[in-house]
């Protein structure tokens, strides 16, 4: 393509490239901004810009498959009588029934439970499919309170108070009319087919001082049994993590800007929030300064794709990660086998991001009963379990190579950065040097 234009002497503008031109033309034609899922698509400093220093002479590695490298994690023991004990630190991020089909929610529960980790509800409440198939279920408490029900609060294993998402820190939820089917509408007390608008702030508290009182109420309602997480979109993680801890959170979830399963305006996704890599050291610094690192757990999400990303998050100081987009892909989203169907709706396998539109041929991000038939929750659940196991084993391979008997024993000193940007953000030395940008040699 490019060659054809180049041979004709045509030059694409770096400023007004074809994507930009198309966006202007779309806005002019329709009068509405682009809404999509998929998280930030631009190139960002990411975990690929870090590498581990495996052991050799100065440190000794552990024998793979022989010598212990544990992966379990306990979340929320600070105040709750019943903290979560997970076998792997890879959890499933909050995604709503409504955004996802009931079958997809079931598959997430099946896959997560098979490997002993947790799954999370989303806007719109808890479904029986989800509770029934999830051994550990985190119940989200969101600004809209769609489907918010104290029975579900009591039925949950942990409660996650959501202030924001990495895709849109400061923005509210969004679900377009096509997905507000009778069941979704019923759960959310909305008219069928409306564009659901949800609030960006909680209706009955604002700020950490009031959040402390809200956490007190939820603890009272659930008799101090359940861990309370606080989830923030990464923007000012140093302050937000400190305030979440001051307000009483047992677990803090920090979601970076690559967080993809929240559908919102493209402009929001690409231009608000900071990369996950940049958020972790600041969140960890906040916890360390308060003396609660590892006592209040840090869960990191936003663009986590494999065991290497997991190990890097752990080394930077996270206690666990949450995956959303990667989990959907494991279930079967963007499957090349469905390429023809993706093309029919104007996309292609590997590119589909209109998860809000409800036309997903994979039957995952849809409420259409016909499309849902394309998705088998048992098969999907098995694929997710496979993926979670692979992620965990990959992280163990790295941890053993660094001589660690537990994933949590990975530390920043096991990492170096490949780019100055990543070195500055992660506060790690540039590979082959002892130079950490911004710090004296």
């Amino acid at each position: 393509m490019t060659d054809e234009f180049a041979s004709r002497g045509l030059r694409e503008s770096a400023t007004f490239d074809r994507t930009t031109i198309a966006a202007i033309q779309h806005a002019a034609r329709t009068g509405i901004y682009d809404i999509r899922g998929g998280g930030a698509k631009r190139k960002l400093p990411h975990f690929d810009d870090l590498v581990f220093l495996g052991a050799s002479m100065s440190r000794y590695p552990l024998e793979g498959y022989r010598e212990r490298c544990d992966t379990d994690v306990v979340l929320g023991a600070r105040n709750a009588r019943f903290p979560l004990h997970l076998s792997t630190p890879v959890t499933i991020a909050g995604m709503s029934f409504g955004a996802l089909s009931g079958r997809a929610k079931e598959a997430l529960g099946r896959g997560a439970s098979e490997v002993g980790t947790s799954t999370t509800t989303g806007d719109g409440g808890m479904t029986d499919e989800e509770r029934g198939h999830s051994k550990h279920l985190v119940y989200q408490y969101l600004p809209s309170r769609y489907g918010m029900n104290p029975d579900h609060l009591r039925a949950a294993d942990a409660i996650e108070i959501v202030l924001g998402q990495g895709a849109k820190p400061g923005g509210g939820g969004m679900l377009l009319g096509q997905k507000i089917t009778e069941r979704v509408a019923g759960m959310r007390t909305l008219p069928v087919g409306v564009d659901q608008r949800s609030a960006c702030r909680h209706p009955d508290w604002t700020g950490p001082d009031d959040l402390a009182i809200k956490i007190g109420e939820i603890r009272e309602i659930t008799d101090w049994e359940k861990p309370i997480y606080v989830k923030v979109g990464a923007s000012r993680p140093y302050y937000d993590v400190k305030l979440a801890v001051k307000a009483g959170a047992d677990v803090v979830v920090v979601d970076g800007m690559q967080g993809g399963t929240a559908a919102t305006q493209d402009v929001f996704i690409e231009h608000v929030g900071i990369p996950t890599l940049a958020a972790i050291p600041e969140a960890v610094r906040a916890l360390q300064e308060m003396g609660v690192h590892r006592e209040v757990q840090l869960v990191v999400s936003g663009g986590i794709r494999n065991g290497a990303d997991l190990a890097k998050c752990m080394a930077l100081g996270a206690d666990a990660v949450a995956i959303g987009t990667a989990a959907l892909i494991a279930l079967g989203d963007n499957d090349p086998a469905l390429d023809a169907q993706y093309r029919e709706i104007g996309s292609a396998a590997g590119f589909y991001d209109d998860w809000q539109a409800g036309r997903d041929p994979a039957g995952i991000t849809t409420q259409d009963p016909e499309l849902q038939k394309n998705f088998d929750p048992e098969v999907g659940g098995r694929k997710l379990a496979n993926f979670l196991r692979v992620m965990t084993m990959e992280a163990q391979i790295i941890a053993r190579a660094c001589g660690k008997a537990h994933l949590q024993h990975l530390e920043p000193e096991d990492l170096v950065a490949l780019s100055i940007e990543a070195a500055a953000m992660a506060k790690l030395p540039l590979a082959g040097t002892s130079w950490i940008p911004g710090q004296a040699l």
């Binding site: 918010m148 104290p150 409306v194 564009d195 209706p203 009031d210």
Partner: protein, 238 residues
Amino acid sequence: MGTLTEDVVQETVTEVDLSASSVRDLNAALHAEPEGSTAGYRVVHPEGKHSLAVGLNRPVTVTIDGHVGYYAAGMNQLATVEIDGNAGVGVAENMMSGTVLVHGDASQAAGATAHGGLLVVDGNAAARCGISMKGVDIVVGGNVGHMSGFMAQAGRLVVCGDAGDALGDSIYEARIYVKGTVKSLGADCVAKEMRPEHLDELTRLLEAAGRDDDPAAFTRYGSARTLYNFHVDNASAY
């Protein structure tokens, strides 16, 4: 039979003095009531404490003798909670069923996101009364503050006094009845015709709240439904 029942109820009234017991003690005792319990509780010296009588799910009766803090009777199911004083932020927030009576004023976000039951405030309710309400009935004897009924999805909000700015902004299918003046209506909220079924409904709600206001003196407000699906000409209302 009626007398006997009353006697039984009175025998089971438990007094909890919050100058001596903790909020945790109170809520734990209320949560420990067996299914179907109609026990009575009387709470004294509440002194503005938060989270009193929250998460109840038995048909018990709790009377609170004085002012309460945030989230009193939060997420109530089945219980009757009567507050003989003012209520702080978010009284009866996310109530599912039952009855909450406030004999004084209520602070902001009264009945926020509540799905069912009846909330009665004899005095005024502050800003955001009935915000995102999802089926609850709210009757306010006095005025309500700004942004009341914001994104109200279902249920009825009755205001016997005046309403503040931006009443019913972005309202869905909830119905709002106001006897006095409305300072301003929010986006997509309009005055609507009072049909006989609305007069009936309002009469029943006023009765349930123990009020003798004339239903005919009220105006009904609801959604113009212009924001239900995005249209470029309405963009400024978002």
